[in-house]
């Protein structure tokens, strides 16, 4: 799985009917320090992610194992919205407003 930042929404009228009703988001794959890798993907959203959020993207046939997407033809799915990333016990990313009660 990979970390990515949601950067946009892909809009398409003429598309395969099996994708009808699913949100297609343009995501930019990022390093753990959230620097862009320059690599972009279009992923099916299954968790209600929004623009600017850091998310986890699953690729390949595994993308179809998402609870919401078992019958959807997809090779990239957003399966989680990241709250916090920790490295060496240090928080290197924290979503705005996330984890207020923890710590």
């Amino acid at each position: 799985m990979e970390l990515a930042r949601v950067e946009g929404t892909v809009v398409s009228t003429m598309k395969n009917e099996r994708l009808d009703g699913y949100k297609l988001l343009l995501v930019n794959l990022v390093e753990p320090d959230l620097k862009s890798t320059g690599q972009y993907l279009v992923a099916v959203d299954s968790v209600g992610a929004g623009e600017g959020e850091i998310v986890i993207v699953v690729r390949g046939s595994s993308a179809r194992q998402s609870a919401e997407l078992s019958n959807v033809p997809t090779d990239s799915s957003i399966v989680a919205i990241v709250d916090v990333i920790e490295m060496k016990k240090k928080t290197i990313y924290k979503k705005h407003g996330a984890g207020e009660k923890k710590k």
């Binding site: 046939s61 595994s62 993308a63 194992q65 919401e68 997407l69 990333i85 920790e86 060496k88």
Partner: protein
């Protein structure tokens, strides 16, 4: 299967229900000399590894088969913690 080093942890409240109870780590794929290969991935862990551990992981479709009761939406899953390894004769 490949080697990797657990280098961090990722917390997510909103996630696919099939990932409930699965720990998500930042994992740097490494070679047998512990040198990094490519960029870190987010890996699903069900074996109880910890940050700093040398582990081995499976990719692509096989990564979905790590739990008995369900397939999970993961393309990188940690399946073992390395106790010991040896390389090469010379």
């Amino acid at each position: 299967m490949k080697l990797g080093r657990v280098i961090g942890k990722v917390w997510a409240t909103v996630k696919d229900p099939k990932l409930t109870g699965v720990t998500l780590y930042l994992m740097q794929p490494v070679n047998e000399l512990d040198e990094p290969l490519g960029r870190p991935a987010v890996a699903a862990d069900v074996v109880g590894s910890r940050e700093g551990d040398l582990i081995y992981w499976v990719g692509s479709a096989e990564a979905t088969f790590v739990l008995e009761d369900r397939q999970i939406p993961s393309d990188v899953s940690i399946v073992g913690i390395v106790d010991d390894k040896s390389t090469g004769g010379d």
